[in-house]
Symmetry: C2
Subunit: 344 residues, 2 copies
C-alpha cells in the first residue's frame, strides 16, 4: 500500500498551476439544467377523502389520498462547462442525511467541489439520493420505518469535527474541536441547515435510481462520499463497463467483497481525512473500504488509497469537500484523474 501512496505523494504542493479556472473567474457553461430519473408508481387505496385549504385564504381543495403515486425518483442537476476537459461526465453522490448541497458552496460561503470540478472542465451531475431533498419522499406505508433526524450535535461528534461524543456544545466557546481542524467551525450552524431526514430502509430504491442515472449519462467517473460508498460500489458492480474511474471519499460502507472483482478494470482512489485513529468508529469504517480495495486488487484492479495526513494534508474532517483546504484535496483528486488519462 505504501507503493500506492507514492503515486500521489507530494502532489498537493505542485498542482495549483493545473487548475484551468480559478475561483473569481467567470464560469462559462454550454448548458445547465436538471431532471428526475427512475422511480416507480404505487397505488394507495381505502383511505378517506379530505377537504383541505392548501394555503391561508385559499379555496378548499378535495384531497383524495387514494390513487397512484410517483415514488423513488431521483433529482439530478447538471452543469456542462464550455471548455470541457474531463473525458467523461463526473457524477457526485452525497452521504447520509445530506443532499447534493454537500458539493455546493461551503457552509462558510466558499466554493465547493461542484464549482471547482466545473472549473476544471468536468461535466458534473450532482444529485439528491432517493427520499432526500428535491427527490421527494413517499407517502406513509410505502416504505417501512420512519425517517431519521440528526441533532445539531450528531454530525459534529460523528464527522470528526469535534473530539467525539460530548464534544459539541450549544455555546461554541465550549466546543471541543479537533486540534488543527480544517472544518469551518464558525459556520457549523449553517452546515446543520443542510441536514435532511433520511430513511434506513430505502437502499434498494436508492441503488435503483443511481443505476438508472448511470444508464442515462455514462460512461462516467463516480465521485461519492460516506454512505454513498455502499451505493457507488454496488452500482459499479452492476455496471462495471460504464464506470471509467471511482473516487471514493471516506466511504463509510463498501460493496459486496465477493463481487469486487467485477471492478477489476476501474481505477479507484480512496481518500481519507485526519483524526481517524482518534475516533471510535472510523478505524473500523476505513477498514471496510480498505478490505474492499484489497479484494479489487486481488482481481487485478488499480486502487490507490490516500490517507491525507500521510501526504501532508492535515486537519480534514469527514466533510473534506467543505473543509478550508477543499481546493487542495480537489487538486489532488484532479491530479489522480489526470494520471489515469481521464483529462484532455
Amino acid at each position: 500500500m505504501h507503493e500506492k501512496f507514492s503515486i500521489v505523494l507530494g502532489v498537493a504542493t505542485v498542482v495549483a498551476a493545473l487548475s484551468p479556472a480559478l475561483a473569481g473567474e467567470p464560469i462559462t457553461l454550454r448548458d445547465m439544467g436538471s431532471f428526475h430519473i427512475g422511480g416507480r408508481v404505487v397505488e394507495i387505496s381505502g383511505k378517506p377523502v379530505r377537504e383541505l385549504v392548501l394555503g391561508a385564504g385559499g379555496v378548499p381543495a378535495k384531497i383524495d389520498p387514494n390513487g397512484l403515486y410517483q415514488v423513488e425518483q431521483m433529482y439530478v442537476q447538471y452543469f456542462l462547462p464550455q471548455n470541457r476537459k474531463g473525458k467523461f461526465p463526473l457524477l457526485m453522490w452525497h452521504g447520509g442525511g445530506l443532499t447534493g448541497v454537500t458539493y455546493e458552496s461551503t457552509p462558510d460561503g466558499r466554493e465547493g467541489w461542484l464549482n471547482m470540478f466545473i472549473r476544471k472542465g468536468w461535466d458534473v451531475y450532482n444529485s439528491d439520493a432517493v427520499e432526500r431533498g428535491r427527490s421527494g419522499f413517499a407517502p406513509p406505508d410505502v416504505w417501512t420505518g420512519e425517517p431519521n433526524f440528526l441533532t445539531k450535535a450528531n454530525p459534529f461528534e460523528r464527522f470528526r469535527i469535534g473530539q467525539g461524543a460530548g464534544s459539541w456544545n450549544v455555546d461554541s466557546a465550549l466546543m471541543k474541536v479537533n486540534v488543527g481542524s480544517q472544518f469551518p467551525v464558525e459556520a457549523y450552524d449553517n452546515f446543520t441547515k443542510q441536514i435532511v431526514p433520511r430513511w434506513t430502509t430505502t437502499d434498494g430504491a436508492i441503488v435503483a435510481a443511481y443505476t438508472a442515472l448511470v444508464d442515462k449519462v455514462c460512461p462516467c467517473v463516480l465521485l461519492f462520499h460516506s454512505q454513498a460508498g455502499g451505493f457507488g460500489f454496488a452500482v459499479a458492480q452492476a455496471r462495471p463497463d460504464k464506470i471509467k474511474a471511482i473516487v471514493a471519499v471516506e466511504p463509510a460502507v463498501a460493496g459486496d467483497k465477493a463481487q469486487a472483482g467485477k471492478l477489476k478494470n476501474i481505477p479507484t482512489l480512496l481518500v481519507y481525512g485526519d483524526y481517524i485513529p482518534l475516533d471510535s468508529r472510523w478505524p473500523k469504517m476505513r477498514q471496510i473500504g480498505l478490505d474492499y480495495a484489497e479484494a479489487m486488487r486481488a482481481a487485478g484492479a488499480s486502487v490507490d488509497v490516500v490517507n491525507l495526513p500521510e501526504v501532508g494534508i492535515k486537519g480534514n474532517s469527514h466533510m473534506l469537500m467543505m473543509d478550508k483546504n477543499n481546493a487542495q484535496t480537489a487538486d489532488l483528486i484532479q491530479k489522480w484523474l489526470g494520471d489515469k488519462g481521464l483529462v484532455e
Copy 2:
C-alpha cells in the same frame, strides 16, 4: 382594467429580438452557489436512545433523538450572470407541492425560466420553501399536522392541464387534455416526479424564511407562483421598501387586503393562463388576486393584469413556466420589467 391590458397587448410578437442570450448559446456566470437561510433551533426531550445501522454493512451508530434540532431553514441557489442587465436580483418562489425545480428544465427537457432569466441578465435566486426539497423538514411534533401528498392525477386535474376532475388516466390515450394545451403532456409523468410532500401548517415559518432572504439579498424583484402568492404579498407587506417589482404568476392566494396599500410603490404584474373559466376553482382563485390588485390600486399602486389568452397567448396551464410557449411568457414578463425601468 382594459386600459391596463393595453400596456402589454401585442408584446408577445415583438420581444424575441430583445433576448440578449438564446438557448444554445453559452451561459457565462460571474458566480454561482447556494446557501441556507433562516430557521430556528428546537429542543426535543424524553425520547429513548436507539442504536441504528445507517447503511447496509455499516457500523452501528447510537442515535439519541433528544437534543437540539435545526428546523425551518430555507435552501437558496443563485446564479449571477457575467453580463448583468437586471438592476436588482430576481427571486423566484415556487408553488405548493413543488420546489425550485419548477423553474429549472421543463419536464420534457427544454429550458425553464431559471435559464431564461439568467440569459436575460438577471441575478437569479431560486429557493425551496421551508419544509420542501433541500430545505429539509422538522422532526415529528415540531409542526402540527402531517405532510400532504399529491397523487399523479391531482395536479393534472387541478392545474388546468386536463379538463378537471376525472380527466387524468393511467392510460395517456384516455387522458382528457385541455384542447390546445401548451403543457408538455407527453412528459407529464416526469412532472409528477418533481412533486414533494408539503405541510399545511407552516405558512408562518415559510414567510419568516422568505423575509430573511429578502433582508439578505434585496432590494430585488419578486417572481412567485401559485401558493407563493400568499407568501410573496405577505413579505412585500412586511418589507415594501425592499421590493422593486412583483411578478405574480397565477397567485392562488394573495396578501391581506387591508395591508395592500403598503405596496403602493411596487409596480406589480399579475399573469394568468388559459382555461380559467372552464375550471371549478380558478375563477375564484383569480378573483382573490384581482381583489388584492384593486386594493393596491386604491392606494395608488401601478398594477397590470395580463390574462394571456386576451393578448393572444393561448393554451397555458397553471404551470406557465413549463408550458411549450414558456419563452413567450418569459419575454412578456421581461418586456414588462423593462417598461418599469428595471433592465439596464
